[in-house]
């Protein structure tokens, strides 16, 4: 069986489906047998989701409009070149 450290080395590829079948199986077995790594994977996945969500809300730094002075500055910047 893989050690936790070995599993950690494979983890990214395991979660993204980039491992050959045998290694994938070894990782799957490790997660089934190791409570700490199972918990770690659960939290790791949660963090990926949180990262994506953080920038997708209406207030997630996507303004509905751009301040008028910035629009004007961009147009003026173009004219000046």
């Amino acid at each position: 069986m893989l050690t936790c450290k070995e599993f950690d080395d494979f983890m990214l590829d395991y979660l993204e489906g980039g491992l050959p079948v045998w290694q994938k199986f070894m990782c799957w077995m490790h997660v089934k047998m190791c409570r700490e790594c199972a918990y770690f994977v659960q939290k790791y996945r949660r963090v990926i989701t949180l990262g994506k969500d953080a920038f997708q809300s209406p207030d997630g730094m996507l303004p509905d409009y751009v301040p008028e002075e910035l629009v004007k500055a961009a147009l003026a910047h173009r004219r000046s070149k």
Partner: protein, 225 residues
């Protein structure tokens, strides 16, 4: 770890347009593009108003100050206007502008004097001599947030914690997890090897997990009360 050294002038704002990219919203049916190529002021204004929010949001995400984001906004549109004749329509106009925005941000970051960045080793998992995970390894900071977290507050904290990551890790995380570029696209954009992207991404996610764990545990605690 550091960026591969490159001369800023070597990087053109319209680099990377050949990389495959997901389909995106396009508000133009060709008329806008023709109009832009004809150099009509009104069309440039239409473009700025339409994709401006996306450009500004992207610039704020990658750069660490609003003032820099505003400067980047102007430079991005200048690069778009100057490069519009070279736009080959292999992606939507919006996607192309987004690439230019990110490239402009990276040019700015590369120009900056690299600030001394803290190591993230203490945020990475710990293992004993037999390779077993040491429980709670890398987690030590108590949360200072005392109130129950609503979703928007949580999103704000996540953005803040991503901002705390050193640039080498933060940029990979933003490109891969937030902007959805593939490993090879991210490698091309950052001019590093794919394996380096994978290593940095895994470390970035792990470090972010450690930074967020106290917050999440507290949130779950409140939810269970």
């Amino acid at each position: 770890m550091a960026f591969a050294p490159i001369a800023v002038d070597d990087v053109k704002a319209t680099d990377f347009i050949g990389i495959s990219e997901p389909q995106d919203i396009d508000f133009g049916d060709g008329e806008l593009l023709e109009c832009l190529r004809a150099g009509e002021e009104k069309c440039f204004e239409t473009l700025v108003r339409n994709v401006g929010p996306q450009v500004l949001a992207t610039a704020k995400r990658y750069l660490r100050s609003d003032a820099e984001a505003a400067d980047c906004f102007q430079d991005t549109f200048l690069a778009v206007f100057q490069g519009i004749d070279r736009f080959e329509q292999r992606s939507s106009l919006r996607t192309w502008v987004r690439r230019i925005t990110i490239n402009q941000c990276l040019m700015r970051i590369r120009k900056q004097v690299r600030r001394k960045e803290e190591s993230i080793e203490h945020l990475l998992p710990a293992f004993d001599e037999k390779g077993h995970r040491i429980e709670n390894g890398g987690i030590s900071q108590p949360s200072t947030i005392s109130e129950s977290l609503d979703s928007e507050r949580l999103r704000s904290i996540v953005r803040e914690k991503i901002g705390e990551l050193p640039d080498d890790y933060r940029l990979v995380l933003l490109l891969r997890d937030i902007d959805g570029y593939t490993t090879s696209e991210t490698a091309a954009i950052l001019r590093i090897k794919s394996n380096a992207v994978k290593t940095r991404l895994h470390r970035a996610r792990t470090a972010l997990k450690s930074l967020l764990t106290p917050v999440l545990e507290q949130r779950e605690c409140h939810a269970n009360v």
